[in-house]
Amino acid sequence: MSNQVLKMSSINLEFPGVLAVDNANLTVERGEIRAIVGENGAGKSSLMKIISGVYPNEQFDGKIELEGKGVKFTGVKDAEMQGIMMIPQELNLVEELTVAENLFLNQIPSKRGIVNKQELFRESEKILNEIGVNVSVSAKVKELGVAQKQMIAIGRALWNKVKILILDEPTSTLSNLESEILFEKIRMLKESGVTCFYISHRLEEILSISDNVTVMRDGKIIKTDQTKNMDEQKIVSLMIGRDLSDYFPIANRTPKEVQFSAHDFNVYHKSLPDRKIVKHASLTVRKGEIVGLFGLVGAGRTELALGMIGAWDAPVDGKVKINDKEYTFENPKDAIDHGLSYLPEDRKTLANIPELSVNKNISVSSIEKLSQLGVINQEKEFTNTDKFIKDMSIKTSSVHSKISSLSGGNQQKCILSRQISVDSEILILDEPTQGVDVGAKTEIYEILNALASSGKSILMISSDLPEVLGLSDRILVMHEGKMVADLVPSNTSRKEILEYATLGQRSS
């Protein structure tokens, strides 16, 4: 047989309303470094999660063959046993345990339940030597740098006799030097016959390290080719091939004076106090304007938003200006009271109150307005909810239904209603159409257009390029914490925006 390690045929993965992976076929060879690229939400992660058993066999359609034999993974553990391991962006190390314990998590050498420390340390030394990491086996993981942690995670994979290693954005938190060290290790692994999937947004890296590149878009595999036949321009144009759908309503509005601005705004890392996630960012939003804020995952857009509304739990340096008055908000309530509201990006963890009804979820932010002397006026509350259900055409069987029983799009419309009901002048929306089906997307676009036309200032953080282009009056692009571009949709292209987002500048 050939050197083929993994073969995936006609893989389909469906989530309610979205086809995350659409008929994907893929083969990789032993010792190959395969880069997977695509926009946010193109299906890269979903595909990798299928390979690594995060989505067990019954959740998707299609066939996986490992070394010529059909396999059906029941879970991550099962995939690991068969030699496939994923190192996610958020490393799953136990910070409070030692390096040695982390290397052997789940399989600590022991006799009758008593840990054999000597063997544990000896084996760990061996692994560390093999990957060439110079740290003490008894150091706690939390004391290590990000790159070292990554190595520990890779070390764990090595010890498990990994055949296929999946790296998801491994360099997103690494410095250039650290990245170089990582690449060296990856090449070393390649020599020893390990196959690597390498997911990254950084095209230079991909071009320098991978053997082959697979480009994904809208859940489909668009093209797989040898890296030497590719260049940055080519990859970018393959990534964005999507047509601008005509579902963007034509907006007829002229933005007026500047209502909201931030100047030289900095946001610091939560655990690394001298690292900035947002670096000297400035922006303005005018009355009646939708400003799209584009960037790759990890560019610092959400952190900027949280910093501005006073919800960031680490130091923030900078002020926001609303109608020529400067503010530093203490908490989101403070921001709302001064006319600035925020729609969180991750609906499930940051917005829904799952046990409460549609009615109570919508009135969370405006409950004081619907009350007299601290007592809720239920009649007012229900009337308010009814209005939103009608205006936003929220599909629910009753105002009393739990929000968690609604579809993603309708949940999002409830959360949007919650934000709109406080009637703030400035709205920051973080991925307003994330996990929302196409129909509801169009409706949300219409709502945003109507809000802007009525004179609201809107800052829309979005990773969906067509959406940013179709809806914005102006487009800001962030790259590694910096604001790198301020563009006008009619005067730019998807290619230009994506270049700014991935490279931080226009490629000449």
């Binding site: 799952p354 409460l356 409950i367 004081e368 239920q378």
Partner: protein, 384 residues
């Protein structure tokens, strides 16, 4: 979409909207009481015994209400028993040693209770110390202060006007009047409210269901209290307190925000709810409850006894959980906890009648707690 409700029959509403956990506990409670009554040759369900039982469960009932509030907000209070004891010491010292008047003593006791709650609330809300730790420390500190102050001796007896607050009875005429007035007030409030909201809440559910409950409780009250001496003062005091806490939880912005915070604290904060302020408020309310419960316990025992309030916090947590309060936060109602408290007290009461050792009482209570939680989890599994 809302007029879908109109067509539902009463039976459907009953099936659709009843809180099954609580319904189940009620059924268990009724069966148990029937069984107890048979086993105790009719003593258990005598008017005198029910009156006693309600009096005995009063303190647990009000502490459980506060516990529901805190658990719904993802907090906990392990200091409740010790705090209640310390307040009872304050009452006894004021009235017995310093010979202050009744009114002043009550005010001071309430203030002390509120301060104990506020102290713990500030540590939780301002300094982000987990409530488990804060109230564990509170448990040790408050009981310790009480012991130091009294040399761990019983302080008493308190004057009869203090004892009256728990052990006294309203005259039968006054009792009749109060029950009748409360019946009318609650029924008309429910009616007006249901009329206003009938567009959104089915009238049968919004009014008739409540009407039946109010009528049932009133009827039982007439039967029990007029059959034996009138309404016990402890029951009156606790009823007022519990009604206020229930109103706070279900009708005020504060209560709503407690459910929002418990349901998803991150979402609450981003949506503009001031989490710290509300947690502090929750502990202050619990503090006021220490005040009321401390006065009642001093009045009931006639003194401040060093064992007063022992295990009270754990029984209150048990009552809340039996009544459907979820430890993952955001879920729980006051009436549920009251039924839980009644159930636990009923076991105590019955076993005392039957002369069963109090050690076995603890075993039985523990088992009931486990069964209740097990039911809760299995029902949840079935729903999802």
């Amino acid at each position: 979409m809302t007029n879908l409700n109109e067509k539902k029959s009463f039976k459907e509403i009953l099936i659709g909207r009843i809180n099954w956990k609580i319904a189940l506990i009620v059924v268990v409670l009724i069966c148990m009481m029937g069984l107890f009554n048979i086993l105790s040759d009719g003593i258990f369900l005598s008017q005198r015994n029910i009156s006693q039982l309600l009096k005995q469960s009063a303190i647990l009932g009000i502490v459980s209400s506060g516990m529901v509030l805190l658990i719904v907000a993802r907090q906990i209070d392990l200091s409740a028993g010790a705090s209640v004891y310390l307040v009872s010491v304050v009452v006894a010292q004021m009235t017995v040693v310093y010979e202050f008047g009744l009114f002043l003593s009550i005010i001071v006791a309430l203030i002390v209770g509120i301060l104990l709650g506020a102290f713990q609330g500030a540590l939780v809300a301002k300094f982000n110390i987990p409530a488990f730790i804060v109230t564990l420390a509170g448990m040790l500190i408050f009981r310790g202060i009480g012991y130091v102050w009294t040399n761990a001796a019983t302080v008493g007896p308190v004057p009869t006007n203090v004892i009256f607050i728990s052990e006294g009875y309203l005259s039968k005429t006054l009792s009749t009047l109060i029950i009748s007035i409360l019946f009318l007030v609650f029924v008309s409030y429910a009616y007006i409210n249901a009329k206003k909201l009938k567009q959104w809440v089915n009238f049968k559910e919004g009014f008739w269901l409540k009407f039946i409950l109010i009528a049932l409780i009133s009827a039982i009250s007439y039967f029990v209290f007029l059959g034996y001496q009138g309404i016990p003062m402890a029951v009156i005091v606790v009823a007022i307190g519990v009604i206020i806490v229930h109103f706070i939880m279900s009708n005020t912005t504060f209560g709503r925000n407690i459910y929002v915070i418990g349901g998803n604290p991150d979402a609450a904060r981003l949506a503009g709810v001031q989490v710290g302020k509300h947690l502090f408020g929750g502990f202050v309310i619990m503090g006021a409850i220490y005040g009321i419960a401390g006065i009642l316990i001093a009045a009931r025992l006639g003194s401040a006894a060093p064992t007063a309030g022992n295990l009270l916090e754990l029984e209150a947590i048990a009552a809340a959980v039996i009544g459907g309060t979820s430890f993952s936060g955001g879920v729980g109602v006051i009436p549920g906890a009251l039924i839980g408290a009644l159930l636990l007290s009923a076991i105590d009461n019955f076993m005392s009648i039957m002369n069963v050792s109090s050690f076995i009482q603890q075993v039985v209570k523990g088992l009931i707690l486990l069964i209740a939680v097990w039911f809760d989890i299995s029902i949840r599994k079935k729903q999802s």
